[in-house]
Amino acid sequence: MPPSSIEKAFLKKWLKGLQALSSSSSSSTSKKEMSIFERKKAIKLSADVAMASLKNGTTSWSRALIQNASKDDNNRTLLKNMLGSQCDEKLSRGPTTTSMMCSMRVRSKRVLRRSCRWRRVRKITKDQRVHAGSMAKRLVKKRTQVLRSLVPGGEYMDEYSLFEETLDYIMSLRAQVDVMRRLANASEFSSKS
């Protein structure tokens, strides 16, 4: 299947980041010192950041991902090269406030919901449907927690946005995996021949 435009754009950005990495590392330390694990980390990081930067801050997970990446000082140079310095500063300031607001909103919603649910449970206890329903709810809650830990920035989202973000995240991950696999296959093939 021919690659989509997203995949092409991703590849461009990713390779740009990798070049920036290799050039910077060549200037500072010798390249031979990068172990395979360091290389892998660098590759993965640049791939993730490339994918997230394609979103241009429209989705929450992409902002969270870039923000998490920028927390580590080692990644500063990579991020600067890939995103441009203004993006880095903008992203570091913006999402923190929104995530705080979101968490506050989420917390207040939870309080409200708990009080309403308590009231409602009292009404429904006569039906004896509570027990099965509440267990199902607990299961769903657990799963939702796990999903929050998987999606970058998921802790701050409410349920609805979480699902939306998950959708988008899955699509992006698929594209990323597709590109990386093709490049890996091509590289391995060329290294063999």
Partner: protein, 338 residues
């Protein structure tokens, strides 16, 4: 006393809808009304016949277009109008409750919220006209991604003991509460929210392979989590492979096409389509699916031109040759792991 006035208002609405149905145009407000008409048939039928299990296919109606809900043709309208009238008569014949409830007050609310609430979420409103209006307004704002709508078994109760809500003004909808559920605004909002979430879950179900047959939120979530974890692991594995393949982290795409008389020229796109190499790649590179290499030519111009420290193809070719042995060991090991 109240009822008479309400019946009049509902009649007014009926007239309005019929008027709008005969006007084929696509103004902003009217589009939502016309969008209304796309849904009603399926929704009304579904709810009246209390068929919760059957997934109703909307493809024939509203979901063909993406976000515009355009007006197909007069013929479609007439068809739908006939269907609607069929339902109103059927409703009158089939169940006495529907006729009773049609006398009750049912008014339509213009939902101010822009967030999409699922049409399937709205409870059974026996009067098909107002029902269509509410549902279609919501669908009009919905992005056209939904294909199937399934009523969860909880919501598929037929209209038996329903309590209408109290509203005075015209734009409010009389939502029928289901048996044993509260009708205050909090729980309504809760319900609307939950149904939004269920809509998203449906989308996720369609996205994740193998999720369609699973029913139940927890299991679907399980699958979704599994899928996300799988994808993330794949990313890790692939980055490991790439790190192993390449001693330096620059991917010189020229070397991927050794048969080419490679040049990193910016201005032109040399026809980098190498059918030779691609044919060779095919049997090796494909594990599960057919993977074809791309035209990397599009990448050359912006990417290579920028970097002053770019390593010339000869050097990287040499590096490949020298480190080929160690690299092949790495890659073999990785392949076994995979």
């Amino acid at each position: 006393m109240e009822r008479i006035g309400d019946v009049e208002s509902s009649l007014q609405f009926g007239e309005e809808i019929e008027r709008l149905m005969t006007i084929p145009h696509e103004s902003g407000t009217a589009s939502s009304f016309t969008a209304l008409l796309k849904l009603p048939a399926n929704q009304a039928m579904e709810l009246l016949h209390d068929s919760s299990e059957k997934p109703y296919d909307y493809s024939l109606n509203c979901t063909s277009s993406s976000s515009h809900l355009h007006f197909p043709s007069n013929l479609d309208l007439l068809e739908r109008a006939s269907r609607l009238s069929v339902f109103s008569t059927a409703a009158a014949q089939d169940s006495p409750e529907t006729t009773n409830s049609s006398q009750n007050s049912l008014k339509v609310k213009n939902e101010p919220t822009e967030t999409d609430s699922n049409p399937k979420s709205s409870p059974e409103i026996s009067d098909p006209m107002s029902q269509t209006q509410t549902k279609c307004q919501r669908s009009g704002k919905r992005k056209g991604r939904e294909k199937k709508v399934k009523n969860s078994s909880k919501k598929s109760k037929s209209a038996e003991n329903e309590k209408p809500e109290e509203t005075e003004k015209l734009p409010y909808v009389h939502v029928r509460a289901r048996r044993g559920q509260a009708t205050d605004s909090h729980s309504l909002a809760e319900r609307a929210r939950r149904e939004k979430i269920n809509a998203r879950m449906k989308l996720l179900q369609e996205l994740v392979p193998g999720c369609n047959k699973i029913s139940g939120t927890a299991l679907v979530l399980d699958e979704i989590i599994n899928h996300v974890q799988t994808l993330q692991h794949q990313v890790e594995m692939l980055s490991m492979r790439l790190a192993a393949v390449n001693p330096r982290i620059n991917f010189n795409l020229d070397n991927l096409f050794p048969a080419e008389s490679g040049s990193l020229v910016e201005g032109n796109f040399p026809s980098m389509v190498m059918p030779l190499t691609w044919a060779q790649v095919q049997p090796i590179g494909n594990r599960q699916q057919q993977q074809q290499l791309w035209h990397f030519d599009t990448l050359h111009q912006p990417v290579w031109g920028d970097n002053p420290n770019f390593i010339t193809p000869e050097n990287s070719l040499l590096s490949y040759d020298s480190s080929a042995n160690s690299v092949s060991m790495h890659s073999n090991r990785l392949k076994m792991e995979l």
